[in-house]
């Protein structure tokens, strides 16, 4: 059944047992919404230099958007900003692939659990759900580190 390609076990696990949920201390906070469906997220980032010390979040939304935020937390906390950006860009590429990218080993190495979202990219209405927290993270990072850091690592 096609549904299983969207609702991978990994995704349902993250949805039911989210990582790092809840708002904690941060350097910047953003609030993003998906106006077509009402998914919302409030997300904070905390940096130690250019190392991600924490990404905390609170929000409401479907399993895809909630699981995606959980995966983001698991993947990005502890990473250097440059590595985190590479993960974010790879995830974006995968999600915008309209189901055309079959993740290979190299991609899987970068994305870890996030490759499970490959199936979601076939559902245009749900891609925004999967990207919500990632866009929020990008925005919060820009705010926390300022345009300067943005340029240096771009």
């Amino acid at each position: 059944m096609k549904l299983d390609s969207m609702y991978q076990e990994v995704i349902l696990d993250h949805y039911k047992n989210p990582h790092g949920r809840g708002l904690r201390d941060g350097d910047a906070e953003v609030h993003h919404v998906n106006p077509t469906c009402g998914d919302e997220i409030t997300l904070r980032v905390k940096y130690d230099g250019t190392t991600i010390e924490d990404v905390s979040y609170e929000g409401q939304g479907c399993s895809i958007s909630q699981a995606s935020a959980s995966v983001l937390n698991e993947l990005l906390v502890g990473k250097e900003l440059t590595d985190a950006r590479r993960i974010q860009e790879t995830f974006l590429e995968l999600m915008q692939s309209k189901g055309k990218i079959e993740p290979d080993d190299a991609m899987e190495e970068v994305l870890e659990d996030a490759v499970a979202f490959a199936g979601v990219s076939k559902y245009p209405a749900r891609v925004k759900c999967a990207l919500l927290s990632w866009m929020a993270w990008k925005d919060a990072t820009a705010q926390a580190l300022g345009a300067d850091a943005e340029r240096k690592t771009a």
């Binding site: 059944m1 096609k2 549904l3 969207m6 609702y7 349902l12 077509t36 469906c37 009402g38 998914d39 919302e40 409401q60 939304g61 479907c62 399993s63 895809i64 909630q66 559902y123 749900r126 759900c129």
Partner: protein, 418 residues
């Protein structure tokens, strides 16, 4: 097969709607329960559209040749059909727009630019309700921001009805316009027009009714409503997209200023100033949606051939059945009136903490089309403390079997996320 009193002969009706035969996702039968978003179109409407383009296409009101005259007659003929359908005292009170949103924006802009006694300004108030579609909120917010007028609204009761307990404080001598929805697209509530109109008339306020979810589903009589403006949209009533209606009382349409300027809406134009054509043309600048108006005319013929009172009875029977069946689903909470009384055929609900997006996705996999989200009525979701709802909405071709399919589908959803 479940037999309910009042049902239409859906087997015959469904033959008129080619799309209902479609299969989706590996040969699943389409169960289309998203009629509040848009209705499907019968063959009669599709034929009218293609016949118009194949035989009559020309611009209207601006040619002496045969096609121009025939196209004009068809376009104006559609206006006659709409006028009769809503029991308008005059065909000149029927303005064609592109949809209900444009109709409502048109009213707001007429009032924004009007002279006394209609003028909305910083001394005056605008009244809406908390259950409006965004199309009947945002135009009034814009008007309030631009004029300094105060925007007020009726709140909602816990069971999804308008709270009119403080009607005398909400609608006051300062109120210029009261605009509200006749049937809510999210809650399904049918609102008590009379009480609101009576109070508005007492204070001399105009009344605008958003009938987008009423015109497709029940007899609509603008004289009985006693409103000043009534807006609705063609695509929810078997017509094509791109055509909407604003009905307005003749004296008002004569007095109120035009909003959009252009061809068609003028009498004479010089480089210094212009005079305007009489209503309704004063409010129809530019080439109108001609084929779409013709298509709406065909949709009205189709609905009339069935009878709006019969459509209403059919949907009422379905709604009663759906409310009963849905109430049996564990963890399901209906957002809106819990019975079929004074209720239209759109039913919103939540299912435990399973997000409506996920509900909709799993239903879709079974061929069942519902709408999920805030249904362009986000304040309603905020009011009831929910992020979104799943909404099933029925029409004249919907069947009890489709409601059974929905209920089975929801069971499947519960198992999937259980």
């Amino acid at each position: 097969m479940t037999q309910l009193p009042g049902l239409l002969d859906t087997e015959a009706i469904r033959k008129d709607f080619p799309i209902l035969d479609r299969q989706v996702h590996d040969e699943r039968k389409l169960v289309y329960l998203d009629n509040a978003a848009t209705s499907q179109k019968p063959r009669q409407v599709l034929d009218a559209l293609s016949e118009y383009y194949e035989r009559y296409n020309a611009n209207v009101h601006r040619g002496v040749h045969v096609l121009a005259e025939e196209a004009t007659a068809l376009y104006e003929g559609a206006r006659d059909k709409v006028a009769a359908f809503i029991n308008a005292p005059s065909r000149d009170e029927v303005i064609f727009t592109k949809n209900a949103s444009e109709s409502l924006n048109l009213v707001a802009n007429m009032l924004g630019w009007a002279d006394e006694p209609y003028r909305v300004d910083s001394e005056t108030e605008i009244v809406i309700t908390e259950m409006e579609h965004h199309s009947n909120i945002v135009p009034w917010q814009l008007l309030a921001q631009r004029t300094g007028a105060k925007l007020k609204w009726f709140g909602l009761t816990d069971d999804g009805r308008l709270d009119l307990s403080n009607i005398d404080q909400i609608i006051t001598e300062k109120t210029k316009i009261v605009s509200f929805v006749l049937v809510s697209n999210i809650l399904g509530t049918v609102n008590p027009v009379e009480a609101i109109v009576r109070r508005a008339q007492e204070v001399g306020a105009l009344v605008c009714v958003d009938a987008s979810q009423a015109a497709p589903h029940m007899p609509l009589d603008v004289q009985a409503l006693q409103a000043d403006f009534v807006a609705f949209t063609g695509h929810k009533m078997c017509g094509p997209t791109g055509i909407g209606v604003l009905w307005g009382r003749q004296e008002l349409l004569e007095d109120l200023p035009p909003f959009l300027g252009g061809g068609e809406m003028i009498e004479t134009v010089s480089m210094h100033s212009s005079t305007y054509a009489p209503a309704p043309h004063k409010f129809e600048a530019g080439t109108p949606p001609i084929a779409q108006a013709v298509g709406l005319g065909a949709a009205i013929d189709y609905l009339n051939s069935i009878g709006m009172d019969k459509v209403l009875a059919h949907e009422h029977a379905l709604t009663e059945y759906a409310v009963k069946r849905l109430t049996e689903v564990p963890d399901l909470r209906i957002i809106g009136p819990a019975t079929a009384e004074d209720r239209g055929a759109a039913i919103s609900f939540t299912l435990g903490d399973i997000h409506p997006h996920d509900v909709g996705q799993v239903l879709d996999e079974q061929g069942i089309a519902v709408r999920v989200g805030h249904h362009c009525a986000r304040p309603v979701c905020l009011r009831y403390g929910i992020p979104a709802t799943t909404r099933a909405s029925f029409y004249l071709y919907s069947t009890p079997a489709e409601i059974d399919a929905l209920v089975d589908g929801l069971e499947h959803v519960r198992n999937f996320f259980g």
